[in-house]
């Protein structure tokens, strides 16, 4: 099962886990990316996420399909939040189930690492004294 979603609403972690649970799988590995209160010691007020939605969904589906193909996992859910996020909010949830836990961990890590490299999603960090598009400049 592959479930990929981009949502303007808060992510529901329990739903992601329930969708991914499988009685043939003994383990679920989950990664939740949350908004930190600081970047390089500077206080973060909020993050603003935007995406190129059609392409982002396509890239997320590729990651999910590759994770299934490469790791032998059975189910993967990738949900990413859009819009304005505050400290502690979940930006991304990735849940992976597999008969064996090694594959679930490998695939979960592969998915978040690759998402950060290839999926057209951008975040702007808003500080007290300005804002910056993350990674835009060297």
């Amino acid at each position: 099962m592959i479930d990929v979603k981009i949502s303007a609403e808060p992510l529901d972690i329990t739903t992601c886990i329930m969708k991914t649970t499988d009685t043939e799988c003994g383990g679920i590995a989950i990664f939740i990316g949350t908004v930190r209160n600081k970047t390089n010691a500077k206080k973060v007020i909020r993050l603003e996420y935007e995406c190129y939605q059609s392409m982002a969904l396509k890239e997320m589906k590729k990651i999910a399909a590759d994770a299934v193909r490469l790791s032998g996992i059975k189910n993967i859910t990738i949900h990413h939040r859009m819009g304005i996020l505050h400290i502690g909010d979940s930006a991304v949830v990735i849940a992976v189930s597999a008969p064996h836990r090694e594959a679930a961990f490998d695939a979960c890590r592969y998915a978040i690492d690759t998402l950060k490299k290839t999926v057209p999603i951008w975040k702007k960090e808003v500080f007290e004294d300005g804002e910056v598009w993350v990674s835009a400049h060297a």
Binding site: Y52, M55, P120, W122, K124, W133, S135, A136
Partner: protein, 80 residues
């Protein structure tokens, strides 16, 4: 050919809008498009890197663009 370029993130700010009508020469490649963009918007050269997506796929420099293509500027991504 006349085409619309989609922009996101910092590119949207550099282009001052989420999409930009542009007149491009017929048979232009991705590499040539990048040169045109950088000539018209020098701020683009200051980015860490950026890619061009054509029809929702990252495009190689030698790809020839068509007026029916959906073309987008992809500045460094920062999801997650």
């Amino acid at each position: 050919m006349k085409t619309t370029i989609l922009t996101f993130g910092i590119a949207k700010e550099i282009f001052n809008g989420a999409s930009k009508e542009m007149n491009l020469k017929d048979g232009i490649t991705v590499a040539e498009l990048k040169n045109s963009l950088e000539a018209a918007y020098p701020e683009m050269k200051k980015l860490h890197s950026y890619l061009i997506a054509v029809n929702n796929e990252y495009a190689e420099d030698d790809l020839v663009l068509d007026s029916a293509d959906e073309i987008a500027i992809i500045p460094p991504v920062s999801g997650g």
